[in-house]
């Protein structure tokens, strides 16, 4: 079983060319072969997996297969899974077993999907490198093909257990991006055919860009957040990670729609989004926001951006430069709003009802302080502190309210641009291809987030759909990606245009099939 896509898998399953058993076992094997990449935090037990496989097999035999029947899907470890540990990459929830499934998990299961396991992430989704997890960092699977000299090292050394292992003596490696690094890496490596991440400021699109997969953040309110452990409620969106745009649409259509358990989901009746194979590009107007020409943008990404814009134009699309004057305020505004909601959302982690309880039981305050100090890493604690400061009565207007106003301005920029006839925006997703661990860890989490999220955060501010898709390889052989952003609920057009681009770009996906032919190491055969 080669690097198969979700759509191909469904077709083959329907035709009886393969079975759910074969697909799942292949993914499971890949998962085990790539164990050292530290992509998974919890793997579904073989017994449970077999149960799900049997049920899918039966569905195919009975002709009652649902859209994702028998498809292995992984979930970022911030989606609650009934009876299965959900840690958010934090000591605080290291032993937390939710008593319920997140709506995304429920809907995937209802659509026949098979849960492969829970993927690694930055602690509570705060990060853009997937390095700040209590389970250790995620290693980009492209390392296995672009820097063969580290393969043997990787195969011998266990992945780092804490986030400060990046000493220069160790072999260097490319990071997966984050915070949904585990999910993006798992899809790229073929350990599942689709994965869920979460996207608050780019946490799905950023690792998708670095791992060479499609990362999709739908319109805010289209997918239920019930059971997604929140970072910033007003920006969090479940993100979909797949190999292709078509796969993304398949997953989207299986999980979108109103959920009575999430009052912020769109209440209108939901109609499936359709990819138009015969998209008439002469009717499409692509905007290139000039403010996205960041000084630190790498030459290769810039070239790809230009080339892609030209491709659109050659195919008949109208391409023009647009202005989004407030986009540059995005990062600082995001920082304030994120910290405020974090300070609030994280008040519940007090060790009383659930989570780590580690402090003096002499007084409630000491118990709280002890548990929260030991349970959260410095990044989380820093954001809580800042957020509480911003929310103080004397600071509320100066920080929170002002940031909300700026958010409105950013949102209005999108509205303004889309109201002038622009259908989609084309931008980079990240500044470069995947950075090296040694370089990334030279700066702290906050600095890296501010730098890494600059192209992705605006879409979260406005709640509009955005997709990162891999379109080429860098000189180093690492994926390069761009981002398409559309107006609210423009998923059909966004998916169609992305699908058109994807067909044209013929991106060569990561192929790790050699792993199965070599028992000794990761080395290419």
């Amino acid at each position: 079983m080669k690097s198969i896509t979700l759509k191909e898998a469904v077709l083959q399953l329907k035709k009886g060319l393969t079975t759910a058993q074969e697909i799942c076992i292949a993914c499971q094997q890949r998962l085990h072969k790539t164990n050292k990449l530290n992509m998974f935090v919890t793997e579904t037990t073989s017994g449970e997996l077999q149960k799900q496989i049997q049920s899918s097999n039966k569905a195919y035999i009975e002709g009652a297969a649902k859209p994702l029947e028998g498809i292995p899907i992984a979930f970022k470890d911030n989606f609650c899974t009934k009876g299965v540990r959900t840690t958010c990459g934090s000591k605080m929830l290291q032993n937390y077993i939710p008593p319920y499934d997140a709506t995304m998990v429920t809907k995937c299961k209802q659509a026949g999907g098979i849960v492969m396991g829970k993927t690694n992430m930055d602690e509570f989704a705060m990060g853009s490198g997937s390095l700040d997890s209590c389970h250790g960092p995620v290693i980009n699977p492209w390392n296995l093909v672009v820097s063969p000299h580290i393969h043997s090292e990787l195969s011998q050394n266990s992945p780092a257990e804490s986030d400060d292992t990046a000493s220069l003596n160790e072999p260097d490696w490319y990071i997966s991006g984050g915070s949904s690094g585990g999910s993006a890496a798992a899809v790229a490596a073929g350990a599942c055919l689709a994965a869920f991440g979460s996207d608050t400021g780019g946490s799905t699109r950023n690792p998708a860009s670095y791992c060479g997969v499609v990362g999709f953040k739908p319109t805010y309110g289209l997918l239920s957040r019930h059971g997604l452990i929140p970072l910033v409620n007003s920006m969090d969106v479940p993100g979909i990670l797949t190999k292709t745009v078509e796969d993304s649409a398949l997953v989207l259509n299986s999980v979108a729609g109103h959920d009575i358990l999430d009052s912020t989901t769109f209440t209108e009746a939901y109609t499936p989004f359709i990819i138009k194979e015969d998209l008439d590009l002469s009717k499409v107007h692509i905007g290139i926001p000039k403010e996205f020409h960041a000084p630190s943008l790498s030459e290769e990404v810039l070239m790809l951006w230009r080339k892609t814009a030209d491709m659109f134009e050659k195919a008949g699309a109208k391409v023009s430069q647009v202005s989004m004057p407030h986009a540059q305020l995005c990062i600082i505004c995001y920082h304030v709003l994120c910290c405020c909601e974090v300070a609030s959302n994280f008040s519940r982690y007090d060790g009383i009802e659930f989570g780590l309880r580690d402090g003096s039981e002499e007084s409630t305050e000491e118990l709280y302080a002890g548990s929260r100090h030991k349970g959260f890493n410095g990044v989380v604690r820093g954001r809580i502190l800042a957020g509480n400061f911003f929310l103080l009565k004397k600071n509320y207007t100066k920080f929170f309210l002002k940031a909300q106003k700026v958010r409105r301005l950013i949102s209005n920029d999108f509205r303004q641009v889309f109201s002038t006839g622009v259908n989609l925006l084309l931008t980079p997703t990240t500044l470069t291809d995947a950075p090296l661990h040694s370089w990334f860890s030279k700066q702290d989490n906050r600095t890296r987030c501010e730098e890494q999220d600059i192209f992705t955060t605006p879409a979260n501010m406005a709640g509009v759909p955005a997709m990162s898709l891999p379109l080429g390889l860098s000189r180093q052989g690492l994926p390069l990606s761009l981002q398409l952003i559309g107006p609210h609920f423009s998923e059909s057009l966004l998916l169609s245009a992305a699908h058109w681009l994807e067909k044209d770009a013929k991106f060569s996906h990561l192929d790790l099939d050699f792993l199965e032919f070599s028992d000794k190491s990761f080395r290419r055969a």
């Binding site: 911030n78 609650c80 929830l93 997140a102 609030s344 007090d350 659930f354 409630t364």
Partner: protein, 541 residues
Amino acid sequence: MAASLTQQTKECIFKTCLFCNLFHKTIATRSMNIKRSHISATVQKEVQPEWQGVIGLEIHAQIKTLSKLFSGAATIYDANTNTQVAFFDAALPGTLPVLNQKCVQAGVMTALALGCDINLVSKFDRKHYFYADMPAGYQITQYRKPLAVNGRMTYMFQCSHNNKIERRSAQILQIQLEQDSGKSLHDPAVGYSLIDLNRAGIGLMEIVTAPDFTSGDDAASFVKDLRDILIDIGACDGKMAEGSLRVDANISVHRPGEPLGIRSEVKNINSFRNIRLAVDYEIRRQIQLLESGEQVVNETRSFDIQDGETVTMREKEKVLDYRFLPEPNLPPLVIHKDRSSVKSSQNVVVLEEVKSVLKELPDEKRKRLETKYNISLKNSVILVRANLAELFEKLVEHHSCDPAAASSVLRNSYAPFLDKAKLNSTDRPISDDGLAEIINIYGRGEISETSLGILLREKSENIHLSCKEIMDKNNLCILNDELLINAAIDDVCERNPKAVKAYKKGKTNQLEILSTKVKKKLDGKVASGKLYQLVKEKLQK
């Protein structure tokens, strides 16, 4: 000027009641005049009369719904520990609030009943503080844009010392929806604190008043009437002992004309009596502090029921900044004026529909009874409170009863009779015709108040007997023979020469004591008014 003077005098008299509770109990049977003179004497001697209490109330009323404000968990009181807890109520990560429209409906109904302006768009905020029985670390409430503002509620001020009744009104500043907290149970013996989340997340309405009250009686009277309204419209069961209705009082004192004093807040008062006691105690305490040159501290206090005192809970300066944040998981709460703006599938609250089911409010009812039937405020208050207004109107409208006689019989005889027989106001142990006949007999002066009670009881037990038959059988006819009455008066006066002497020295309350003795001697078969007249004549001879 005159009006304000009267007002001031009234408040003075009233306030002084605070200082001599015990004394008042002992003179409860004396006449009003004596009370007044005695009080003013006390005032001059002991207290500076110009201090005035200023009280504002925050009332937390649990909304009577089957499920909680934001979750599907049940709200049954006294259920087994932690059996009414949805995942959301335990603040499990990833859970989200889903607004219970039934709670909104109750809130809107209350807002209408209290004459508030309803915000067609209101919002929810998070109020942060760490407390073990508040699992999320914040309470969802309405801070910046509450459900309703700017109302006014009429209530019957009732003085606990002289039964004086007066119609007053207070301004409602706002009504907000919010979550109740859980309960902590501390066991110092083993050093455990146990948490029960059954109450966590039950819908509350916080009703905030302007500082319009002046005394414990005033505040308690308001809450009593508010409770009646809430029960009447079904928004709250009003069970104060179960914590369904809890009162926080903000209390300060000042001299009229001067700026308001520093206030303290007494939290979680759970009965009318405690409202009166706590407020009056706190006023007294603050006056004492100020008189001895000290300052009132802005702090939160609780009322110790055992000692009848308020005690410090925490100083306000130490209270945390609540760091309010708009609740990001709930869209703005929209109340629709009418159905036209509502999509059919939506589960929403429509103002017109709530208005249409709102019944006549107690004060509207009282006012109608007073103006339409010309009955006294006191009678209207009792008829409405005893839920007998409807019966009253029926008797007057359809059975041609005299309103004065009907209200008197219902209030003085029928309501106590129901009480004694442990019957509800909706039970009808006597047919309306029978009741009308009894009222007419009384109206014609054919039976005394005392005998009425017997007639009501007998009639309810012997439906087949006519009133005439019962009265004959039990010898209930009124005694009108003045010779007989006077003989009884003479007899009583002879046996009580001290009382007669006291009366002649000015102790007019002896009139009532002697009259009661005469009445007893005559088996209660004499009309009170007539008896008083005759006794008075005898004593003044």
